[in-house]
């Protein structure tokens, strides 16, 4: 695996900035020359990958850093998407507010706020929801916390599904199962005048995915940056400490509730931003997108990549979201056309991901690129097992 290859330390440090970053950033420029195989990620898949990387890195703050098992992260994704839905569509038709929006008339009905403003607003609202959900639940530990978050992860999609007649008042908050659609497009409405190469409306560009991909990468960069800064801060240390030993952390002066709530809110923040962006990209906030499956998929990304390690989580999220979005179907089609079989591999998706996680747990439980802390932990467990005569893979 990666950490066993004989690559010198400086070269390893240089891999991400010098090789991977340009490869990723320039992907729209060269991906067409990679051939026509359906295994090559399309730009649309690439946009989805950026969204999932953001969410997985956000979830990693909660699960990987602070050790709080959160099975309801999809709730924050939903909140982010609905913020885009509320404030950048015709949902609230009795109002007519237009502020910086792209592609709408100045007297259009509904609320139309610039997506650039909505991204931080959605993030902040998701973080606030994180605090509201966190305050009563974060007193619980381990499995109990996981169960309650699982509950909230189910409650919020149910609320949005049934939110077209809030409390029987007839107030339509979420437009029920149909969801809120369309959501206004993105674009550089003002910057376009100064820098003409920035399009004023992504929908009107020859390939709208290119610009969504670039914005997605920008979100990833911000998320990763914040995540690393927090990891190396006073708060980040407190997260690791409480993951290790709550009682000792409290005795050393770490206010548990406060620090856990911050972890939850920070994670939610990036989930909300990614949700808002994805809602805009898909052009709608649809309840069916916010299933428990997304929460487990995100958790699988964190575990597969290497809990606690930002780069590992990025890799895990990129791999799984690629497989989920395009890869599995493409692999299935390739197999079918080459061997004359007729397997609909996407039907086995959940089972295959489950199998992948089981295999990971057996052969590389610390993840693809583990954090050094996790690695140390697992090494000790392995030594203990070996000492006890148990064979570990």
């Amino acid at each position: 695996m990666i950490d066993k290859l004989p690559i010198p330390r400086w070269a390893r440090r240089a891999i991400i900035p010098i090789i991977i970053v340009p490869l990723v950033v320039l992907y729209p420029e060269y991906y067409t020359s990679l051939g026509t195989s359906q295994l090559i990620p399309t730009l649309s898949t690439a946009v989805t990958m950026t969204v999932f990387v953001c969410m997985a890195v956000g979830l990693n703050m909660v699960v990987g850093y602070a050790g709080l098992l959160d099975l309801g992260y999809v709730a924050f994704y939903a909140i982010g998407s609905y913020v885009a839905g509320w404030f950048a569509s015709t949902q609230f038709a009795s109002h007519s507010i237009v502020f910086g929006a792209v592609g709408v008339q100045s007297h259009a009905i509904g609320i139309h706020i610039s997506i650039w403003l909505l991204l931080p607003v959605a993030a902040a609202m998701a973080a606030a929801a994180g605090v509201v959900i966190g305050l009563p639940t974060l007193r619980l530990r381990g499995d109990y916390l996981a169960l309650v978050t699982l509950g909230f992860g189910e409650i919020i999609p149910q609320v949005v599904r049934n939110g077209d007649n809030m409390f029987g008042t007839g107030f339509n908050l979420t437009n029920g199962v149909a969801g809120i659609t369309p959501i206004d497009p993105m674009g550089f409405r003002y910057l376009h005048g100064i820098l003409p190469f920035l399009p004023d409306n992504f929908l009107l560009t020859p390939n709208l995915d290119v610009w969504f991909y670039r914005v997605g990468l920008l979100l990833v960069a911000i998320t990763v940056f914040c995540s690393i800064r927090l990891r190396d801060s006073r708060l980040g240390r407190a997260w690791v400490a409480l993951r290790e030993d709550e009682i000792a952390a409290a005795a050393m002066g770490v206010p548990l509730m406060q620090v856990k709530t911050w972890a939850y809110a920070s994670g939610a923040f990036f989930g909300g931003a990614a949700g808002c962006f994805y809602g805009v990209y898909q052009g709608g906030a649809i309840p069916d997108n916010f299933k428990l499956y997304i929460s487990t998929l995100l958790l699988a990304m964190v575990i597969l990549g290497g809990m606690g390690n930002v780069w590992g989580v990025c890799l895990g999220a990129a791999v799984l979201s690629y497989l989920n979005q395009q890869g599995l179907g493409a692999i299935g089609n390739t197999i079918n056309s080459n061997f004359g079989t007729n397997i609909e591999i996407t039907k086995y998706e959940a089972g295959l991901f489950g199998l992948l996680i089981v295999l990971m747990m057996l052969f590389r439980p610390q993840g693809l690129i583990p954090s050094s802390r996790r690695k140390a932990e697992f090494d000790v467990v392995k030594e203990e097992h070996e000492a006890a005569g148990v064979v570990v893979g």
Binding site: R237, E244, M252, P255, R373
Partner: protein, 284 residues
């Protein structure tokens, strides 16, 4: 350090200072079990006080009440004149109570330096936003904290080699020292040590005994320790309190405790009183 058992080693700082910690009828019940029964207890400022008693006497429960891990069922716990009974642990730590644990509870996959930095948590300010922006203030604070953490590690006798070593990889003695360093990170005025020399060899125990006196003399700390090693207890303490079955059965100077019949009985069983000293091994 040999056992100069009879005299308190620091006659200059007598037990006459103002009480920094005082419990009044502190009581802890678990269901029907009374773990600590109405304990009155005083720790004078800048003194070294030991809490001893047979296993299951309620010593650690008493510690846990003092540090906020348990809420007392009844009674008062006054620290620096303020009732801290039932406050959450981090608040009590911030008021100036540091502690170590009986079975070492370091943050295993954090380095020695990081462990001490967590200990400093309540003395540092860096918040979420400012940490992300890494403002000059946060930068300076982190730099100073790091320097101070290293200083504390040196003070506690840990070599520079272990600074960036995960605490789980440290030797047992070093882990004990690191626990003290981490506790000192919170700048306590009262330090609670729960069986600090458990598992140490006689040489290490003697070194540790000296270190405890040094902490008081150089840093002006008040120290309360739970200890089973009578050599350590008699060598370092000015006052000793003895618990048995959740009750305080004796209190006094080391010499008084050694001569106390109830203490000897608690340790060696009835009938042993008068025939054996508290420190010697019993062959019943």
């Amino acid at each position: 350090m040999s056992t100069e058992a009879a005299e308190a080693p620091h006659p200059g700082v007598g037990p006459k200072g103002a009480a920094i910690l005082e419990t009044r009828a502190a009581r802890k019940e678990f269901g029907g079990l009374v773990a600590c029964s109405d304990i009155d207890f005083v720790v004078p400022e800048r003194s070294i006080v030991s809490l001893i008693g047979p296993n299951g006497a309620g010593k650690t429960t008493f510690f846990n009440m003092l540090t906020g891990a348990y809420k007392p069922t009844a009674g008062e716990i006054l620290f620096a004149g303020r009732d801290v009974g039932g406050l959450p642990p981090h608040r009590i730590t911030k008021l100036g109570v540091g502690r170590t644990f009986q079975n070492i509870r370091l943050f295993q996959t954090m380095t020695s330096v990081e462990n001490v930095l967590v200990g400093m948590h309540c003395r540092l300010k860096g918040g979420l936003i400012r940490s992300i922006l890494r403002t000059p203030g946060v930068r300076r604070e982190e730099r100073d904290a790091l320097a101070r953490a290293r200083e504390l590690l040196r003070y506690c006798g840990l070599s520079e080699r272990v600074d960036d070593e995960y605490s789980m990889n440290l030797s047992y003695g070093d882990q004990r020292r690191l626990e003290v360093a981490r506790a000192l990170g919170s700048e306590p005025t009262l330090l609670l040590l729960d069986e600090p020399t458990a598992g140490m060899n006689p040489q290490e125990s003697a070194d540790f005994t000296r270190f405890v006196s040094q902490l008081r003399d150089e840093r002006g700390l008040t120290i309360l320790l739970i200890e089973h090693d009578m050599k350590v207890v008699m060598g370092v303490s000015e006052r000793i309190t003895v618990l048995d079955h959740g009750e305080k059965i004796a209190e006094g100077s080391p010499a008084e405790i050694q001569a106390n019949d109830r203490v000897i009985e608690a340790y060696l069983g009835s009938g042993a009183a008068g025939s054996a000293g508290a420190g010697s091994g019993a062959t019943a």
